[in-house]
């Protein structure tokens, strides 16, 4: 049964990537931004028409879009995403390197926001309509309307500029390379961007967990336990916890897209050299192969999150485990 589940998922992923690749290729080729102009940049005046034609020819820009798409898709199918024009390096290796830097940021923020948000949601749900609940809800609603980059800027001003506790930029001390920096230095630089991302990420999971906790406390089993004299805290932590945890884990996995978007903004504020900042550079400087590569990579990233959510549901939920034939 599990192989069938996997096969269906892989088929869906391939279909999705084909659609996303086609649509994004259509989008970038309709762009009025001339890739040669974007590449040449400020050296525009020193480059002759002939040299521009050589660049265009080398990139295959003299061919019609349909033929370009065919060649790009063919190469992509063999795992070659082309060469980034701003880094002069294969797209895959740029994405790989940058993603490792972003990965630790996202992993830390993701776990922090998951744990904190779940805890806050449980407390708010258990203490419905008290001052504590109202406070937590106000916080969550405010954060849902707050831009990630603004939180980052405020934290930067307070902790890096005024207090001087954390560094102002980058993922490691300037002058060192990624390998030379110690684990402590890396963590020190990672802390503020990760906190920024988690402060925002908490909102959704808190509100969701709160709803589910209230629902669980109104269910028959909770009312029965109350009638037998159990305390609300006991019911929440012993009986409701498992029922509430599963949708929370699912939601947290399904929110990888927002995490990625948040990382783009947070990395911009803290000048953190991860995949998010690379996305912005690729977009602004017209690095089409890299931009397309990142679009496809982030699609796989989001898909993996949703896939994990589905998988955990099917592995953990006894109702779905028994009817394994219903896996889709």
């Amino acid at each position: 049964m599990i192989t069938q589940f996997l096969l269906v998922k892989i088929f869906r992923l391939i279909l999705l990537i084909a659609a996303v690749a086609t649509l994004s290729f259509l989008l970038v080729s309709s762009s009025p931004v001339n890739p040669v102009d974007a590449y040449v940049g400020t050296a525009m005046l020193r480059i002759s028409q002939d040299q521009r034609e050589i660049i265009a020819k080398r990139w295959g820009l003299d061919k019609p879009p349909v033929e370009r798409f065919g060649r790009w898709a063919g190469q992509m199918a063999t795992g070659n995403l082309g060469v980034s024009t701003i880094f002069n390096e294969p797209v895959l290796s740029v994405i790989g390197k940058r993603f490792v830097t972003s990965f630790w940021l996202m992993a830390l923020a993701w776990s922090l926001s998951g744990a904190l948000g779940f805890g806050l949601g449980l407390i708010a749900g258990a203490r419905e309509d008290t001052l504590l609940d109202r406070g937590i809800r106000l916080y969550a609603y405010t954060m849902a309307s707050t831009p990630t980059f603004w939180v980052g800027m405020i934290l930067l001003m307070v902790f890096s500029v005024s207090l001087g506790w954390t560094p102002v930029c980058c993922a490691w001390p300037p002058g060192l390379s990624a390998e030379q920096a110690t684990l402590w230095q890396r963590l020190h630089h990672l802390l503020l961007p990760a906190v920024t991302l988690s402060l925002i990420g908490i909102a959704q999971i808190t509100l969701h967990t709160r709803e589910k906790t209230i629902e669980a406390l109104r269910s028959d089993y909770a009312v029965f336990a109350r009638a037998q004299g159990e305390s609300i805290i006991g019911i929440v932590f012993v009986r409701a916890l498992r029922n509430v945890a599963l949708p929370a884990v699912t939601l947290q996995f399904a929110s990888l897209g927002e995490l990625f978007g948040g990382a783009v903004l947070a990395e911009q504020v803290f000048a953190y050299p991860g995949l998010g900042r690379t996305t912005v550079e690729a977009g602004i400087r017209g690095d089409i192969p890299l931009l397309l590569g990142i679009v496809l990579f982030s699609t796989i990233f989001v898909f993996t999150g949703n896939f994990m959510a589905d998988l955990i549901y099917h592995l953990v939920d006894p109702r779905l485990r028994k009817t394994a034939g219903a896996i889709s």
Binding site: V28, S30, A144, S145, G257, V264, Q268, G283
Partner: protein
């Protein structure tokens, strides 16, 4: 039972909230109009002033009044929000209705389109579309307008699907009512509230995404007083301690996004008969 004489029922409270929001938004537009050119005028005698009586949000490094610039930024944000939310909501309405009523193939196609639209992180999609439009204000508006429909499409599709299989609609068609009559008298009263609430709740997303996109450097020229641009500019002065450049415009943006959130949720509660009199 004691009742608080000041406790109002939801209808009255919601009406007051809606009225308050309208006043706030018209105030922003009128103030932006009254300020005229003031936000653009440089006044080197009044450079880098912290917030005070004459300049509530302080002034920037060219002596421009941050309050005037923030108000103008909010006006631009509201305009982008309005354009984007209406475009996305109309796309969602058409696609949702088509999926639910025009047969299996259209339904599969629309559901698939929603999946593809939500497959990449939203911000990456915004960057891609704004790049495809060649940047500029036009790029920001098109990107935000063309990317917010999938969620609402799903809601409208599910709502119409559920209505079509409900007993009273089946009964109505057995009684010989035409599809048009059913659509007018049974479907519309359910879909219109969903559409309106969806439209209102799209606003905060659209405003925040537009600000994020301009903050990253996609879009408008640096002279436009747009909130995202104001905040991106203030980044350069953070280390010199000019905190007011970032704090006030950001708070103003959060407040307007939250206002739409509150407005949308109140209208939802008002339009839903179950929660109307709570």
């Amino acid at each position: 039972m004691m009742t608080n004489p000041l406790a109002l029922d939801r209808r009255t409270r919601t009406m007051m909230v809606i009225f308050g929001c309208l006043v706030l938004f018209s105030a922003i537009f009128i103030a932006a109009w009254l300020y005229g050119e003031q936000g653009q005028v440089t006044n080197l005698a009044l450079r880098k002033l912290p917030p005070g009586w004459n300049q509530p949000f302080g002034t920037d490094w060219l002596g421009r009044d941050m309050f005037a610039r923030t108000i103008k930024g909010l006006r631009i944000s509201l305009e982008i929000g309005l354009a984007a939310a209406s475009c996305s909501a109309i796309i969602a309405l058409l696609l949702g209705l088509a999926a639910a009523t025009m047969g299996r193939i259209i339904d599969v196609a629309v559901t698939w389109l929603c999946d593809v639209g939500m497959a990449t992180p939203h911000l990456v999609l915004l960057i891609l579309i704004s790049f495809a439009c060649g940047g500029g204000a036009k790029g920001v508006i098109i990107a935000v307008a063309a990317s917010h429909w999938p969620a609402l499409t799903r809601v409208i599709r599910a709502e119409v699907m559920q209505l079509r299989t409900s007993d009273y609609i089946k009964l109505s068609s057995r009684l010989g009512k035409s599809p048009a009559w059913i659509a007018r008298h049974h479907l519309l009263p359910h879909v219109v509230p969903q559409f309106l609430v969806g439209l209102l709740l799209l606003f905060p997303h659209a405003i925040l995404h537009a600000a994020g996109l301009t903050f990253l450097g996609f879009g408008m020229s640096p002279h436009t007083p747009e909130i995202g641009i104001l905040l991106a500019e203030s980044m350069r002065y953070l280390t010199t301690g000019m905190w007011w450049l970032a704090v006030a415009p950001g708070l103003a943006l959060i407040l307007s996004a939250m206002t739409f959130d509150v407005l949308g949720n109140n209208v939802r509660a008002l339009l839903d008969p179950k929660t109307l009199r709570e």
